[in-house]
Symmetry: C2
Subunit: 557 residues, 2 copies
């Protein structure tokens, strides 16, 4: 760190120019506080990768300065990286009661719970972490117990909103702390970091309550079973499903591991109210009158192994979709998941179900948890920051969020659109963006964290498109003659039975490549391998327009 | 064919339960007429596959009966399979002037044009194909020169709508033949096959003209260059871009091979009117006043190598996006393409462009070419068929189309929701669905048609996720001892430098596997290979949670 001791620095290690792996940090002097530690799901180009987490090189290099990881809420893009983070850095985690419940589930699975310090906070907590005082305010979002954070530093106050919308009639009555936000703004905000997910959408986000109204209506009309798929962590929506089931005299079964786990946490910790005797085990469903059953299940994003997909392909031991059942998809597909979701909807119709699907504005079965433009403008208006850093979004969202900030009075030039790794340094109330720290995607593949890099992915891509061909050549050490015919093995390239002639010609070319070189008195293995790759590669491309990976193996005996 | 000679049969070889590879057929006695021969683009699960075309086994087996391939219009999902079809079956192709232009482009590329009989028809043509008389009617769609088809058979009339909407104010004044459709309906329609793409959407499709209005407005407001990306084949939209450019005194450049090709066909054949001197070459763009230039380009679906993606990544020799330029995405992303399109929009914003994007109903820059529910009901009302077969759509669309048919009077039970390969046989005005013929996906990969099958794809999938490990073992024929250390090559599995210890242990396990078997007096290669696969596989999974393909190669010398 080539800055003065009394510099305030703010940076993101994830969450900028992407949706996912949120991780931000505020540093003052020798104190670093981390905000969130999220994961991101890979797109189909990242073959075989399970999860992407932030590169934390900078934090590892400055581990003595880290005072805390504060988690704003319990969504995967804010907590998914925690188990991997903890393996490198043992930092105390501060979060609300519900958020901690979800983190604990994760740490138990990874067997990390024993060695981690977890500190429960709420919106009234005040922390002294090194030279930084931290206070909080409550926000509304699609999961309970969300926090915005205020960092009181000698240089000025920094506010991080977490994820939020302004829902003035929250189902769980966890009202946004609007008065507190106004007071924070009145006291002065030097820097605001605010989430940008819906900065492209005009208007104000609808309240979650409208989902309850539509849910109740659908339950009233339904003839057979009612099956609802939604995010397990959207406890308010789950509560509205419970309420609709109660009103229409249906018992409730849960399908899918994360639904069972998260609902248990929510009930245990008092975030979800379910009357005694209302829950039934999945295996009871088949024995009950369909009109007395509702099922809450995972898989609203089309995940092929989740409960909804298995129900749709009639592949669930405990429950079957029957003609006349009503299936409600109470979620919007995240970009990239549309095809999978459509496929499930088709299968449900084929089973004879009535399916309620489509955008939330059509069905009323889904509303976003992220504030639209008017929500974002309200936050900016309450906080009236000197400097503004739009976070949590792809570039176009950050761009629109900047325009919103300017429209409510943030001075032109005082908004910083950063990248992951860019550092905003503030000294004497003057903010500058000058430095960069290491940042990027760290891939989790199976047990490995960061051991799969671009070269491995490049190989996987080539293998995935055209397969491969291993050619084993045995050469006698003495006379440098081939001992036997080359041995050729192909996988993922051509259907073996169709390719006798092709592989015969490959063998001929391999022998020719080696003989040609030997006649020219070249005996280096590498030259032989290159020569084989070239002549076989050209031949196969000409014949098939494919470029399998060609792997010559020379055995000298 | 186990039916009487005077049976009318109708079937689909593609287009049902999918969007793409449309191919339908009407057979009466010994005459088969094929309708369309489309391709479908593979999703990401079909690793390395370039295109999917229908399985035409049945047609090959009955090639003497095939009288014609009639093509309703020139979209890829209706003509994309033609070159591959022609390599197996040399059938005369009937299509309108513009459709033939697009087919000819394709056949020239595949060097098939010389040997193919192409017959130009229009909506007034009447064909006698064996015992079937064929007439046509004009429809509106997002490409010029579209046809609906009437098959006059002794058993009754069969109508195939092609793709359509009712645009009462078509840009090119190619009005739908509503009076003719009414007359066809009055004469009696035994079976209607009607497209179902938008059967889920309520209302009537908007007219293409609204795009022209919005286009003109955007051109008026634009400061720098205007770049419009849309489908090249949407000639009416291209015409409206030409008109807007003309009104605002801009020259027009074309970027992207298919844009150049299709626009040339459209101009040549009189479907697009461009004033002399209005077109400029791409290489002129840089020298011109940005306010005097408009660019029409390919790539509206986010295709990574198309013109728009290359412009967005500042990677196009002839043209650069400058701050203040306006980019219009005049197309909706097809499901599955959202991420690619978003990525391009982000890049455009980063270059400082003003980007007009989002759903057509928001921007007014795109309308669908496929009829919504009211369009579909109007077609059903005009045709008032006895039997109805919804085609061209995924299952949920066919399902909704059936409900629409029933709502306008088609008798319950008279709608057949078929699958590709299902045959509807009609004798004495009675329709039954009893038989199946072969059908399915044929994969095109490079030069190969159908040579990549599930086993090859399965291998590609495994290779793509966890890579592979080739283990070469050399064994002496005489003493059955290993001649040297096993030779191990991995690709796409782990980063080589990180994995020394891992591969050492693999070597140890390989030697142990072989020794164990030999001590038990087992010398079969297959047993050895299985043993190695098992022990190495288990070890690697335990260490890495990955399952690379393990390929033991035993060389006996």
């Amino acid at each position: 760190m080539k800055t003065n001791d009394d510099t305030l620095s703010i940076f993101a290690l994830g969450g900028i120019n992407e949706i996912g792996k949120n991780m931000y940090a505020v540093q003052y002097s020798n104190d670093i506080i981390i905000i969130d530690c999220g994961g991101k799901f890979p797109d189909e180009s990242l073959l075989g990768i399970d999860l992407i987490i932030p590169d934390i090189t900078y934090l590892e290099e400055n581990k003595d300065k880290i005072r805390a990881l504060i988690v704003t809420h319990g969504h995967e893009d804010h907590i998914g990286g925690i188990p991997y983070f903890l393996r490198k850095l043992n930092v105390p985690i501060y979060a609300t009661r519900f958020t901690l419940g979800l983190i604990e589930l994760k740490l138990e699975e990874h067997r990390l719970i024993r060695d981690t310090k977890l500190v429960q906070i709420d919106s009234d907590s005040i922390l002294e972490l090194g030279d930084i005082k931290v206070s909080f305010f409550r926000t509304s979002h699609s999961i309970p117990d969300c926090l915005g954070i205020v960092f009181h530093t000698p240089e000025g106050n920094v506010v991080h909103t977490g994820d939020f919308k302004f829902d003035l009639t929250p189902v769980n009555k966890q009202y946004s702390d609007i008065h507190k936000m106004a007071e924070i703004g009145r006291q002065g905000v030097l820097v605001l970091l605010s989430e940008s997910t819906n900065a492209e959408r005009t208007g104000l986000t609808p309240t979650e309550r409208i989902v309850g109204d539509h849910m109740e209506e659908a339950f009233m009309k339904a003839q057979g079973k009612v099956i609802i798929s939604t995010f397990a962590s959207n406890v308010n929506r789950v509560q509205q499903v419970v309420d609709a089931a109660l009103k229409t005299n249906r018992k409730l079964a849960l399908l899918g591991r994360s639904m069972v786990n998260v609902v248990s946490v929510a009930i245990e910790r008092g975030y979800l109210k379910v009357p005694d005797g209302m829950m039934v085990e999945a295996r009871e469903i088949g024995k009950m009158d369909p009109e007395r059953v509702a099922i809450l299940c995972t898989g609203s994003q089309g995940e092929p192994l989740a409960a909804l997909a298995r129900l749709a392909s009639a592949n669930y031991r405990d429950a079957a979709i029957l003609p006349g059942d009503t299936v409600i998809l109470a979620a919007s597909p995240i970009p990239g998941n549309e095809r999978g979701v459509s496929h499930i909807i088709d299968n449900l119709f084929q089973l004879g179900a009535k399916v309620i699907y489509g955008s939330g504005s059509t069905t009323g079965m889904h509303v976003s948890g992220h504030g639209y433009q008017e929500d974002l403008k309200l936050m900016l208006t309450l906080m009236k920051p000197t400097y503004f850093i739009p976070i949590h979004g792809e570039f176009r969202m950050l761009h629109h969020h900047r325009l919103l900030a300017e429209s409510v009075g943030v001075e032109k030039g005082n908004t910083f659109i950063i990248k992951n790794g860019d550092v905003i340094d503030i000294e004497n109330s003057l903010a500058r963006q000058t430095r960069k720290i290491p940042s990027g995607d760290t891939y989790v593949d199976g047990m490995g964290i960061g051991d799969v890099r671009d070269i491995v992915l490049r190989d996987r891509k080539q293998l995935s498109e055209d397969g491969m061909l291993v050619i084993v050549i045995t050469i006698n050490k003495m006379d440098r003659k081939m001992v036997s015919e080359p041995d050729t093995i192909s996988r993922g390239f051509v259907y073996a039975r169709d390719s006798d002639d092709l592989l015969k010609e490959v063998n001929r070319l391999v022998k020719k490549s080696i003989n040609d070189l030997q006649e020219a008195n070249v005996h280096q293995w590498n030259a032989m391998k290159q020569n084989i790759k070239k002549s076989v590669g050209q031949y196969l491309y000409k014949q098939t327009k494919r470029k399998p990976m060609i792997l010559p193996v020379i055995i000298e005996i």
